[in-house]
Every structure is written in structure tokens, then in C-alpha cells.
């Protein structure tokens, strides 16, 4: 007589049967780390190098091969982005069970949405935000859009490393073949078609609350300003509930980053990060036009040491004039 399996046992068995088949590979399964939109991520041991790495493999039905194409695309995009703020890919291939996979650095840390409470000061949060901006700006400079930037996709490592994760929805910008990434075994023409198809399908388009209005509409011509909107939403997440964050310039930075119209947003990530850095340094920010009085007061505040020294000097001279023995 067969044993009755309830729904949760059924799901666990499905997951177990879905574990990557690693026989004959250099990897040994240690544990499952998580489940993404199309793939599972496992902790595996690289038996040759004797270290643990993360292995991502497709774990959802993929009848038309779209997920396979996307996984390989993701691996190749990350491999192209060698930056301290982007998790490095080590290896990619096909498992003995026929599923494509790639391995990457095992990041032991916390997601930003789980870690944020432990960052008390606004300046620390903004400095962390600048490091996220650095990684995204680097990707943009290499013609890559992330398209799913959100706190859950930012990892904070045990030594304070900031890593932008999950490039599964990323897209290569630009029509130039040199900028394009071949997907799977297709040629570049097919690659473009696949990418468009995947976007047009709308099966995975991003995360509500962090997607730009044009991404929600499903615009095919997204550019880096869409990521800038998401960065604005992350900035909002970081400053919400912080009393210092009511500073008008900082609020203006967020508003400009999250403008409905891409034309009125920051046009590059470096413009956004420059404004945040200026705010941290007490300088004027481009998103917040100031009156002459405010600008003068800001100048005074910035140069207060010199001004105080000058005033002290003038006061001393004045006193000397009045009280000099005749």
C-alpha cells in the first residue's frame, strides 16, 4: 500500500527530486539557500578548491527554454561585470540532469531589508547607498540594466561588503553587436528577439514599489533611468522613518530620482550619487535650488572656521585700536 503524502510532503519531495544532480561534477550539495523566480540557489562545496560556493540552477517548468536562455544570459552578464559590488561568477555549464547552472561566490550576509534596522545613522545609510550606486553605475557603464533593484537584492556582507545581487532580469543596452551578449546557442539576432520576447511576456518584470512607471507599463525601450527610479525607491526605503531625513535637499533628491517622467529624473547614476555625496558633505545639491540667502548661509556654515578666525582677528584689531595706550 502506498503511503499518503500531504501537500507539504508533496512539495518537499518535489524539491528533493529537483535538487541538482551533481554526480560526476566537482560540486557536492550542502544545502538549499533559496528559491528565486526561475531558479533555486544551493550551497555546494567545490571539492577541488575546497570551498563553498552558491550554485544557481533552473527549478521551474521551462517548456520553451526561456528560463534556460535567461539563466545563461544572467551568468554571462555578471561575468562581464567585474566589480567589488557585484557578486562574481566562477563557473557555468550543464548538470548531468541536463539543467544549466552557474556558480558564484557564496555571500554570507544579510539582505538590506533585513539589515537596515542595524544601521542607525542617516549618514551611514547614505554612504551604503552610495556604494550601491557605484555598482549600478559600473553596470550602466558596461551597458547593463539591472531592472530589479530593491533592498532584497542587496546583500551586506559580514565585513560591510555591499553586493548587488540577482541579475536575472538584467538587460543589455544598445543595438551595437559589440554591446550585445549572445544568449544560449543563439546568434546575436536571435538573442535580441529572445530578450524582447522575455520582456514582452511579462512573466517577470520586476518588483512593485521599486519598478519605474515605464517598466510597469512594459515599455520596450527602458534605459538606465529606469534603474535610477529604483535607486530612488531604495533611497526612500533607507531614509523613511529617519528624523534627519526630513531635510529638504535629501527629500528633493529622492523626488527627482523617482520623477514620473524619465526626462526630469537624474539622467545618470553618477548625477544622483554626486547629489547624495554633496548632501553628506553639506554642499548644495542640484535637485534643490536654493535662494541667495540660503546659499550664503550654507557658505558661512561651510567656512565657519575661517570666518570665526577672521572675526577674531578683526575683533582683536578693533580692541587694540580702542584700548591702545596713548
Amino acid at each position: 500500500m502506498t503511503r499518503f503524502l500531504n501537500d507539504s510532503a508533496l512539495e518537499r519531495l518535489r524539491e528533493a527530486a529537483d535538487s541538482p544532480e551533481l554526480t560526476g561534477t566537482r560540486y557536492r550539495l550542502v544545502d538549499k539557500l533559496g528559491q528565486g523566480g526561475m531558479g533555486g540557489v544551493y550551497c555546494v562545496e567545490d571539492t577541488e578548491l575546497e570551498r563553498r560556493v552558491a550554485l544557481k540552477v533552473i527549478s521551474v517548468p521551462d517548456p520553451d527554454g526561456a528560463c534556460t536562455v535567461r539563466l545563461l544570459q544572467e551568468a554571462r552578464i555578471i561575468a562581464r561585470l567585474e566589480h567589488p559590488g557585484i557578486v562574481p561568477v566562477h563557473d557555468a555549464g550543464v548538470l548531468p540532469d541536463g539543467r544549466p547552472y552557474y556558480t558564484m561566490k557564496l555571500v554570507q550576509g544579510k539582505r538590506l531589508d533585513e539589515h537596515v534596522e542595524s544601521i542607525a545613522s542617516l549618514s551611514d545609510r547614505l554612504r551604503l547607498f552610495l556604494r550601491i550606486c557605484d555598482a549600478v553605475a559600473f553596470a550602466h557603464a558596461h551597458g547593463v540594466l539591472h531592472r530589479d533593484l530593491k533592498p532584497a537584492n542587496i546583500m551586506i556582507g559580514p565585513f560591510g561588503e555591499v553586493l548587488v545581487m540577482d541579475w536575472g532580469l538584467s538587460k543589455v543596452l544598445g543595438p551595437s553587436p559589440a554591446n550585445d551578449i549572445p544568449i544560449g546557442h543563439a546568434d546575436s539576432g536571435a538573442a535580441t528577439e529572445n530578450r524582447t520576447m522575455l520582456t514582452a511576456h511579462g512573466t517577470i518584470v520586476g518588483t512593485p514599489g521599486y519598478m519605474s512607471p515605464e517598466q510597469i507599463r512594459g515599455d520596450a525601450s527602458l534605459d538606465q533611468r529606469s534603474d535610477i527610479y529604483s535607486l530612488g525607491a531604495i533611497l526612500q526605503f533607507l531614509i523613511t522613518g529617519n528624523a534627519e531625513a526630513i531635510a529638504k535637499p535629501l527629500s528633493a533628491i529622492r523626488v527627482r530620482a523617482m520623477a514620473e517622467n524619465p526626462e526630469t529624473r537624474y539622467q545618470t547614476v553618477s548625477q544622483l550619487s554626486t547629489d547624495v555625496a554633496h548632501f553628506l558633505d553639506g554642499l548644495a545639491v542640484s535637485a534643490y535650488p536654493e535662494s541667495t540667502m540660503v546659499r550664503a548661509w550654507r557658505w558661512v556654515l561651510r567656512n565657519r572656521t575661517w570666518i570665526l578666525l577672521l572675526l577674531a582677528y578683526l575683533l582683536t584689531r578693533t580692541l587694540l585700536i580702542f584700548f591702545r595706550p596713548r
Binding site: F4, A9, R12, A16, E21, R28, P61, D62, P96, G98
Partner: protein, 249 residues
């Protein structure tokens, strides 16, 4: 990999020979025919019964009659002869046939009351009825295809587990299967660390990893073999593996 088969695995993992279930049911050899029918009934009778109970909301007695009637028709009235693998998967075809039977329920019930063909299959309805208690309530708008697929998956997984248990016992690997039961079937098993399990069974934590990996691999292999036996074409086999396991072969 030179040893790979066309279904995406090392040659030893998935046998490439394909035994056709439908052809088996039409075989001139009684033994072959019986084997095919046994396979079919073993995998499908519980999904059919539960589907009639849950989707068609039939009481258990009418559901038992309809299940018996369905398989009697399947065996004697040549329902399988009309199955075309190019048009649908076998699972879907069987569900649609069940729908047709239930929609003509009055006539079918009447025939059964008259005695029908007098053939009753030895199906353990009591166990199937007991399992229904643990199943979630099905809303009227629930997709019947999904419901039937879920029950089919439950049936196939149950059959596969029994086979893995038997094979592990035969190979002296009973502990491997126990670990699979502990981690993947019993509630709360996943909460245990490998170290805790290793202490409980007086083995090394690395053995827990290896034994569990073995049992899971065997479970996957057996599920795929069972699926292969229950499907008609390579394409259908792949689609069922996708639907049930989420694996791309």
C-alpha cells in the same frame, strides 16, 4: 559527454528504451496487456476517485461506482483506442474521459445498478477516502486540470516512494531511505541540522549529506522511470516531468 542520452542525463540514469503503455494495453499477449493495465490502474485510480469526489463533489458511494465504471469502460469499451498522443497527454485524456462519464452520471449509475459488466476491480477505496480528510477543500472555481495533476503527482510519488524503499532495503541502504523520510516527508524534518541527525543515527554529518543525496537521486530516478512507463511519447514524458517535478529533460 559521450555517454549522455537524448533525455539529458548520463546513460545509467534514465533508460532510453521506451515501453508504450497504450501499445501494451492493446497487446495480443495477455501478460503484456495485464502489465500495462496494472500500471495504468495503479497510477490513476486514486486520482480518478479523488477527482470525482473533490471536483464533481460526489458522495463516496456514487464516486466508487463511477471510478469502477470508468476503469471497466477503459478496459472493455476501448476508450484507450481513441487516445491520440499527438493531441493530448494521457493524463489530460483520462481526466476528460472522467468528465464525460460523470456528466452522463445517471446513465452510468443506472448501468451499474443493473449490474454493468459485472467486473469489479479490487480498489482500496477506504484508504483513498481516508486521504481525502487531509486534503484542502476544493473551491468550485479551482482548475480541474490542476486538481487532477496534483492527485496524479501524489499517486506517482507514492508509488515511487514504495519502490525506492523496497530497492534501498534490498541493497542494504535502509538508512538512506529513512533519512529521505525524515527530511522530505515528515513534518518538521527540515528543521533538524545534519549534526543532530548524525548524532541520532550514530553516523558522520558527511554521511547524512551523502545518504540523503543518494536517496533523493534514487527517488528522482524512480519517479522518472514511472513517468516514462505511464507516458506514450518522448515529448509527453518530458512534459510530465516538467509538470510534476519541474525538471527539464
Amino acid at each position: 559527454m559521450a555517454d549522455d542520452t537524448s533525455i539529458g542525463g548520463a546513460r545509467h540514469q534514465f533508460p532510453s528504451t521506451h515501453w508504450s503503455l497504450i501499445e501494451g494495453t492493446r497487446s495480443a499477449h495477455a501478460e503484456e496487456r495485464q502489465r500495462a493495465l496494472d500500471t495504468l490502474i495503479r497510477a490513476y485510480w486514486k486520482p480518478v476517485y479523488k477527482y470525482i469526489r473533490l471536483h464533481w463533489k460526489k458522495e463516496n458511494e456514487p464516486a466508487k461506482d463511477l471510478t469502477q465504471e470508468f476503469f471497466v469502460r477503459l478496459l472493455d469499451k476501448g476508450l484507450l483506442d481513441r487516445f491520440d498522443p499527438a493531441r493530448a497527454r494521457l493524463r489530460t485524456y483520462i481526466r476528460v474521459c472522467v468528465d464525460g462519464l460523470v456528466m452522463n452520471e445517471d446513465k452510468a449509475a443506472h448501468r451499474m445498478k443493473r449490474g454493468g459488466d459485472g467486473v469489479l476491480l479490487p480498489l482500496d477505496f477506504q484508504s483513498a477516502e481516508g486521504e481525502l480528510i487531509d486534503l484542502p477543500v476544493v473551491a468550485a472555481e479551482d482548475d480541474p486540470e490542476k486538481l487532477f495533476a496534483r492527485e496524479f503527482a501524489r499517486s506517482v510519488f507514492g508509488i515511487a516512494l514504495e519502490r525506492v524503499r523496497r530497492e534501498c532495503d534490498e541493497k542494504g541502504k535502509g538508512l538512506h531511505f529513512e533519512l529521505l523520510e525524515l527530511y522530505d516527508i515528515e513534518e518538521g524534518g527540515k528543521e533538524l541540522t545534519y549534526e543532530e541527525v548524525a548524532r541520532r543515527f550514530a553516523i558522520k554529518p558527511t554521511d547524512v549529506t551523502n545518504y540523503l543525496a543518494y536517496a533523493r537521486r534514487e527517488f528522482r530516478r524512480v519517479v522518472l522511470e514511472e513517468l516514462r512507463a505511464m507516458t506514450e511519447t518522448e515529448d509527453e514524458f518530458r512534459r510530465e516531468a516538467l509538470a510534476l517535478l519541474g525538471v527539464r529533460l
